[in-house]
């Protein structure tokens, strides 16, 4: 794999203001993403994991500029989108698409399948007439394994897995380079998850796609990802190749997450040392001082509660934010 950087995320922050009072003054902020830095290399699949509320979905959306980031840089092929006009960003969306979590909510209930898939082509002026659009939509439907005779049906007539295929076809329509898969399989039945994962993998290999694969299911993430990043309360905790992360996790939070995966081998499962997290996820509008994880970390020291650890490369291509490593 070439090490060409496709997306560079530098110190990305996404804060949502909390307003209150008669004059609607800003009284605080939900720091959904609070300074994360990483690169996404061309052709790789970067997994992004963490509990719900850790900011991974927000990160994915901010990277695509669906939200205007509060601070930081998201450079796509070397161009910082935050500095460009809204119209430039809109045109750039051709090259970066998204697959959504909820295949029920993300398809317009009043539109036929053919229109849902064909609209991006029209919006970006990629087809010259209805004939060509129809032809391309047919191709797309075949590519994702949808029966092309369903073109005039409405989304509610399909099952979850098929709806997700429609969503994938829509994302592929403009031949993008980069796709954010935002929990693209979490809402599906387990039996269907594997099929969709296989489809995504096959499409990646056939079309040379790059994925940011956001999920909370570590098993699936390991299977599809080249590298995996672990987020906690808006911060990146650990980032390395997926094999290394699962075989040799360094951050206590990663260890806790991994020990929550059941092992399908009862004797092994019984002797395993579990690392259980106590307490609830703190509020992202008022995170703990020092290391964000310090309030729930079993190993936390005074130092951890006072000073925030740097996100640093501990061994080659293995980044961790923890004082104890």
């Amino acid at each position: 794999m070439k090490n060409e950087v496709l997306v560079r995320v530098k110190d990305l922050k996404m804060h949502f203001p909390i307003r209150a009072g008669v004059l609607n003054r800003v009284v605080g902020a939900v720091k959904a993403v609070d300074g994360v830095t990483f690169d996404i290399l061309k052709g790789e699949t970067l997994g992004l994991v963490g509990e719900s509320g850790c900011g991974k979905t927000t990160a994915g959306r901010a990277i695509l500029h669906l939200y205007r980031p509060t601070a930081g840089e998201v450079a796509f092929r070397g161009v910082d989108l935050a500095k460009e006009s809204p119209e430039y960003v809109r045109r750039a969306r051709r090259h970066m698409q998204m697959i959504f979590q909820d295949p029920y909510a993300s398809l317009n209930p009043q539109m036929r399948v053919g229109e849902i898939i064909g609209r991006p082509l029209r919006v970006h002026g990629l087809v010259k007439d209805a004939q060509e659009e129809k032809h391309l939509v047919t191709e797309l439907m075949q590519k994702v394994g949808l029966n092309t005779s369903y073109r005039d049906r409405y989304p509610h007539e399909f099952s979850g897995g098929q709806r997700q295929r429609i969503g994938i076809a829509r994302a592929l329509a403009t031949s993008p380079d980069f796709i954010v898969c935002d929990e693209a399989i979490s809402a599906l039945d387990v039996s269907i998850q594997a099929q969709i994962i296989n489809l995504l993998e096959q499409l990646r290999d056939d079309l040379g796609l790059t994925y940011l694969f956001i999920a909370h299911d570590l098993g699936m993430v390991r299977y599809i990802s080249t590298r995996v990043g672990v987020m906690y309360l808006g911060k990146m905790m650990e980032l390395t190749s997926s094999d290394e992360l699962y075989d040799d996790p360094l951050h206590p939070y990663t260890k806790a997450l991994l020990s929550a995966i059941p092992i399908p081998d009862p004797p092994l499962e019984r002797q395993r040392q579990r690392m259980l997290l106590e307490g609830d996820l703190p509020s992202p509008s008022n995170p703990p001082a020092g290391c964000r994880f310090s309030s729930r970390c079993p190993l936390a020291t005074e130092h951890c509660r006072a000073v925030e650890p740097k996100f640093r490369e501990v061994t080659t291509r293995h980044w961790v934010a923890c004082h104890l490593v």
Binding site: R94, M98, D102, Y104, P120, D152, H156, Q162
Partner: protein, 314 residues
């Protein structure tokens, strides 16, 4: 619903698994024939539809249906009782204080009622839809100003507002349509706004943005098709409200000019002769009540057909 699965996901039931399954499920390929067959299952709705069709025919074909010129004044013939009273004479529903044929005026009155009802809705619907869409979608200053207008409108009975404006402008069919249209859009806008707000954060709108759609495309091509149901339902109720408003203002003498055959002006005239000639009021009163009742019943039915959840807001 048929199962379309041919892929290996066959086991998954395509129905009732998601909260997003829209109630518009029924609205499908065979939309129109289904709409009518469903309507005919309700006796009240069927009768209402027939009444409305009769009113519509009266309005359109008034010149051919009316036995006399509705404005022809014959003072010799004044206050002749209708046929059903003494079985004699040539005027089915009698004549008014100027000798004009009541039946002809009732038939022509349908024209005025429907013209005002429908044209004013067209005006208020267009303005309300646009303002509601923009205000709900973009928020900000437009929305703030619009919400303040709503506050004022709510505290100022529409009939009072229309009455004062008509008082200054003077009566006239065109002015009346304009005034009812321009005073009625606020309620329209409020409901459209609340609908837009309730779906603008739905994921399919975000998805449209992610594919690179422009703001106006998301607003008019993604959101708008999803709020047609309430728009149509309020529209039908507003036609009824406008018909009553036209008659009320004409009754008070500031609607259409007195010589124009409107059910409202007929009632106002008839009120002068209430102890003498009840045929001046009863036919006009029945005509307007039946028309409005029919529209309201059809509106109720349409609401339940298109989207029963609207019951809570309309």
């Amino acid at each position: 619903m048929t199962s379309l699965d041919q892929s290996p996901e066959n086991g998954v039931a395509p129905t009732s698994e998601g909260p997003a399954a829209p109630p518009q499920q029924v609205v499908e390929h065979s939309k129109k024939s289904q709409l009518l067959s469903r309507l005919f299952r309700s006796k009240a709705a069927t009768i209402s539809l027939i009444i409305l069709l009769l009113v519509l025919v009266a309005a359109v074909a008034a010149p051919w249906l009316a036995p006399n010129d509705p404005s022809a004044i014959k003072l010799i013939q004044r206050l002749k009782p209708p046929l059903y009273v003494n079985g004699a004479g040539t005027h089915w529903l009698g004549t008014d204080s100027l000798g004009r044929d009541v039946l002809s005026r009732i038939i022509y009155g349908a024209r005025v009622s429907l013209t005002v009802g429908v044209s004013a809705v067209a005006i208020s619907g267009t303005i309300g839809l646009l303002v509601g869409l923009l205000s709900g979608y973009f928020g900000g200053l437009v929305d703030d100003v619009f919400m303040r207008i709503c506050d004022i409108q709510l505290s100022f009975p529409t009939i009072m507002l229309a009455l004062t404006i008509m008082a200054v402008l003077g009566s006239g069919l065109d002015k009346l349509i304009l005034v009812l249209g321009l005073t009625g859009w606020v309620q329209y806008g409020r409901i459209v706004r609340s609908q837009v707000i309730s779906i603008k954060n739905d994921e399919f709108v975000l998805a449209a943005r992610a594919t690179g759609e422009r703001q106006w495309q998301m607003l008019f091509q993604q959101i708008l098709p999803n709020i047609w149901s309430p728009v149509i339902v309020i529209g039908s109720f507003t036609i009824a409200t406008n018909i009553v408003a036209e008659a009320s203002l004409s009754f008070l003498g500031v609607g259409v000019p007195p010589n124009v055959p409107s059910w409202g002006t007929m009632l106002a005239d008839g009120r002068q002769y209430i102890g003498v000639a009840d045929w001046l009021t009863i036919p006009a009163g029945i005509a307007i009540s039946l028309t409005v009742l029919a529209i309201n019943i059809l509106g109720d039915w349409l609401r339940d057909y298109l989207d029963p959840r609207l019951k809570n807001i309309l």
